[in-house]
Symmetry: C2
Subunit: 114 residues, 2 copies
DNA sequence: TACTAGTAGTTAGTAACACCAAGTAGTTAG
DNA sequence: CTAACTACTTGGTGTTACTAACTACTAGTA
């Protein structure tokens, strides 16, 4: 993946994962494949697991260990109240940034056509 | 500023500054006030200067030192060919990410209304 | 004169985060 | 018994925005 994407994911990947967990608990491996399905094909596995440890330590998710039919036990993560709050905050921050950048994009187009 | 915004700016702030430089050269102090005007009220001055040094070293901008009427000399930055290329790449990366996150936002809304 | 505020840029150190590489461990198919 | 898939862990790296302090020049004011 480009270096730009790597840097851009900082701060957004956490929100993306929290969003994926809305309404549906999931475990790490599952989340990784979900991300790949959504087009984030190059996100490193280790990155996802590290992120999950982090949001667990921040108290944004509840964790339950469940046996798997085909492999080691899974750690199933579900969004809790604090996580939902954090996600809302994420959407606010993201919207703010996205709006301003969209504005810049438009302005650049105008300049480019002059 | 929130910690979320700080992390989110990683990887996007550079693109934002390159976008600001499209069609119009500017110096550091000016860029900082431009950013503040655009709503990024809490971006630290030091951050902008450090970023400018970085994009100069990456060869994305040309620099010209000009005396100022009211203070120390200014370093005026203008986007060069490589910078324009990098900016295009930025828009591609950003669009990709923004689209996917927008999709997630919609999905979350639907889930939330169930 | 000395002091403040505004302008303009620099430097050193910190924290957060995504990355890579390598490893452990369980199951299933050849 | 070996490979491939599932599932998670650990240790170390590079990039980036942050803070805080500093230099330096000008203009206005007490």
């Amino acid at each position: 993946m480009g270096k730009q994407m790597t840097e851009m994911l900082k701060g957004t990947l956490e929100g993306i994962v929290l969003a994926l967990l809305t309404g549906k608990a999931a475990y790490g491996y599952e989340i990784t494949t979900l991300l790949r399905d959504q087009g984030f094909t190059d996100i490193a596995e280790g990155t996802v697991y590290a992120l999950l440890v982090r949001i667990e330590q921040k108290g944004l998710v509840d964790v339950e260990k469940r046996p798997s039919e085909k492999g080691p036990p899974r750690k199933v993560y579900s969004l809790n109240g604090q996580g939902r709050q954090e996600l809302e905050e994420f959407w606010r921050t993201w919207s703010f940034l996205a709006e301003r950048i969209a504005q810049l994009h438009i302005t650049d187009h105008i300049k480019g056509e002059k």
